[in-house]
């Protein structure tokens, strides 16, 4: 658990906005803003946040589906030299993409409806290893069994599968190259609750079996609490709190984390929620200097509105708040 598999340092991803046919606009959306963290080998690292917090963008930057504006991402593989991904060229990336795989959110759109299971799951093997014929179908059958699907499904098209089965196919595709790191982008949020549980269990079993590391992106705290070792909470492109799952749920330090936790529904109609945070809704205008959460924060002072908060380490948690631990 001590070895670092992925190190993200000062990652920025800015998208230009506005601008027309003749003029360039300088306005940018800071989808990922100065994000740093590291992921240990074998752990499950959760990234949570509301819609638009930049968690999916962060995942896609790590995968290098998007090209980050700047920053460094270092990937440490077992028997290969470590690589820096932001500056990596196509050749390096093709190689990296074998050790770092992705599971997508939408089981409908992530499987090409025109291809058979064999071609979808085996695509990476056929492309990068030139595997074909019997060898390919044997390997794909083996993968299907590993994710709890029957090998006879090899020649079927995705439309013959349910949502949960499709997501298993997505996981099988990710496993095909024996990766070390899997980025699961909202992998279970499109599934209903019982299927979510099955899929999460499957992922945990696979993690033990193949010594996998997960980066688990989600908006559902209940999901994250169960399977993650450490959790990063994102708000408007920044990691506002990073702590172990236990610590985060026991003692949230950032006001935003508290607001998130208090928003988790309690499955008991008679339960009173006394401690619900009173948080105003986000208004689009965000101050460029100062804390980005300031105009939603119930504890905000002039200090918050004018000065960006430093990163504080309080009992093992990294928190981005002036008054972390005090409020």
């Amino acid at each position: 658990m001590t070895e670092t598999i992925l190190e993200v340092d000062g990652l920025n991803m800015y998208f230009p906005t506005g601008g027309g046919m003749f003029k360039k606009s300088d306005a940018v959306v800071k989808a990922v803003n100065n994000v740093s963290f590291d992921v240990k080998r074998g752990e499950t690292f959760g990234i949570v946040g509301e819609s638009g917090s930049g968690k999916t963008t962060l995942g896609r930057c790590i995968m290098r589906v998007l090209n980050p504006t700047d920053g460094e991402i270092t990937f440490n593989r077992k028997d290969k030299p470590q690589v820096e991904l932001v500056s990596g060229d196509k050749q390096t990336l093709r190689d990296v993409w074998r050790d770092m795989r992705m599971v997508f959110q939408d089981p409908q759109s992530s499987l090409n409806p025109r291809l058979r299971v064999l071609d979808i799951v085996g695509q990476v093997l056929a492309t990068t290893e030139g595997m074909k014929g019997k060898a390919l179908s044997d390997r794909v059958s083996e993968l299907l069994e590993q994710v709890g699907l029957r090998p006879e499904f090899l020649m079927r098209y995705p439309n013959a599968f349910s949502g949960g089965q499709r997501q298993r196919l997505g996981i099988a595709r990710a496993l095909a190259t024996n990766p070390e790191l899997i980025i699961a982008d909202e992998a279970v949020s499109a599934l209903d609750v019982s299927i979510q549980a099955q899929t999460l269990n499957l992922m945990q079993d696979l993690q033990e079996e193949f010594d996998l590391t997960y980066i688990f992106i989600a908006h559902d705290l209940a999901v994250v609490e169960h399977i993650c070792d450490r959790i990063a909470v994102m708000y408007l492109g920044e990691i506002v709190e990073l702590a172990t799952a236990e610590e985060l749920f026991r003692d949230p330090k950032h006001p935003y984390t508290r607001a998130l936790l208090s928003a988790v529904p309690i499955p008991d109609p008679r339960a009173r929620r006394g401690q619900r945070e009173k948080v105003r809704l986000a208004d689009g205008a965000q101050s460029t200097e100062g804390c980005r959460f300031a105009n939603r924060c119930p504890f905000a002072t002039d200090l918050c509105r004018n000065t960006a908060p430093p990163k504080k380490n309080i009992s093992g948690a990294d928190v981005l708040c002036h008054f972390a631990g005090e409020v």
Binding site: M21, M63, V65, R94, W97, R98, R101, M102, F104, Q105, D106, S109, S110, L111, N112, P113, R114, R116, I120, Q123, V124, T127, T128, G148, L149, R150, F153, M155, R156, Y157, N159, A160, S162, G164, Q165, R168, R173, S194, I195, A197, Q198, L200, N201, L202, Q204, D205, H226
Partner: protein
């Protein structure tokens, strides 16, 4: 793990009924669209006629007959009554007797029930080359005696058989649709693909160009271009130039469609997944993008064919498209331009007009059916 259930495999249903690929599903869906399926047959027959026109046509399309000017359509009869009262089966037409009213110079025709022209299948007639290669003189249907003339759809001012002319015209009219659509396809897919794949300023330029072309009123544009065709050009060259003029507009909508498909597919997860699987951009386009929208393209091409046919017809009707002696549905309609002809010989208007309506409707229904069947999200 506290509240989560045990991990049981989710696939406990017995044997799956059928393994249907997307293509089989599309076909099944298309079959369910009755009108479209019927139209497929109509279109098939029309293209068969276009290919084997000389075989199907009972007469040579340019054979004149001074004794049958503006002859009305003749009916087909089946039972012959002999003088002794006995009846027997014989497909036949009745010979027309012409009378000229000397005062008005109008011809009137009277069918003579006693003078029959026997008809038959696979009869011998004028010589032609089947598919431009095989010399033959067999015709699908017509008078048994090659010297007889029967006008099922009437005849025109030179006594030429309208049915045979419509059949021969099918070749030009239907092929101009295909050739025009082929040109639109090449230009549209190339420009639309570039526009959608690269985006940015090049996308901007192509889109503005399309908007510009579409904002020009079509008829004046066609007229201007067609008027520039020298009259002494050989018919074949005129034909191709007219095709190009007609497809000038057609490619724009196709290019937009292709661009839209590229843009929407670019964001599909399975495209990202394919890139992560190590496929190059070109492989992604070839293996994932093109198959995903090829059925849409086929559907919109089918819908573009009738537009091309109508465009050719309008141009030829206005006298600026194809010129006689080329026979197309448009040049046939041109014969029916004045009131006198329409009153004296309405079949000159009705016969080719009906043919155009049938062909255009059939192609439209076919295109609609294909488009519905091609949409995977509308299950």
């Amino acid at each position: 793990m506290t509240s989560v259930t045990e991990n049981i495999p989710v696939d406990n249903e017995p044997q799956a009924p059928e393994l249907l690929g997307p293509r089989a599903l599309m076909w099944r869906k298309f079959r369910r669209h009755r009108i479209a399926y019927f139209s497929l047959w109509i279109v098939g027959i029309i293209y068969f006629i276009a290919l084997f026109g000389d075989f199907v046509a009972p007469q040579a399309h340019d054979e004149r007959n001074r004794r049958a000017i503006f002859a009305p359509p003749q009916g087909i009869h089946f039972i012959v009554e002999e003088e002794d009262g006995s009846r027997h089966f014989q497909i036949h037409a009745r010979r027309l007797q012409m009378e000229i009213d000397r005062a008005t110079m109008r011809r009137t025709y009277e069918e003579d029930p006693n003078d029959i022209i026997p008809l038959g299948f696979f009869v011998e007639g004028h010589e032609y080359d089947l598919l431009w290669m095989i010399p033959s003189n067999t015709h699908l249907f017509g008078p048994v005696d090659a010297d007889d003339h029967v006008y099922f759809f009437g005849s025109d001012r030179l006594g030429r058989d309208i049915l045979s002319r419509i059949i021969i015209g099918t070749k030009i009219s239907m092929s101009i649709g295909l050739v025009g659509v082929a040109i639109s396809l090449i230009v549209g897919v190339t420009l639309g693909g570039i526009s959608g794949y690269y985006g940015g300023w090049i996308d901007n330029i192509i889109q503005r160009l399309i908007e510009f072309i579409r904002s020009i009123p079509t008829i004046p544009l066609w007229m201007g271009l067609a008027a520039a065709i020298p009259l002494d050009w050989p018919p074949l060259r005129t034909y191709f130039v007219v095709t190009i003029i007609v497809s000038m507009i057609g490619w724009t909508s196709l290019a937009r469609e292709v661009r839209g498909k590229f843009l929407s597919l670019r964001n599909e997860d399975f495209i990202t997944a394919a890139r992560l699987d190590g496929l190059t951009d070109w492989q992604v386009i070839r293996k994932h993008m093109v198959p995903s929208f090829s059925s849409h393209i086929i559907a919109s091409l089918t819908l573009a064919v009738p537009l091309m046919i109508l465009a050719e017809t309008s141009l030829s009707f206005l006298g600026i498209g194809l010129q006689p002696p080329i026979v197309s549905w448009g040049t046939l309609l041109k014969e029916a331009q004045n009131i006198r002809t329409i009153i004296e010989a309405p079949w000159l208007l009705i016969a080719p007009g009906t043919m155009i309506v049938i062909a255009v409707l059939a192609l439209n229904f076919l295109g609609d059916g294909l488009r519905d069947a091609a949409d995977p999200h509308a299950h």
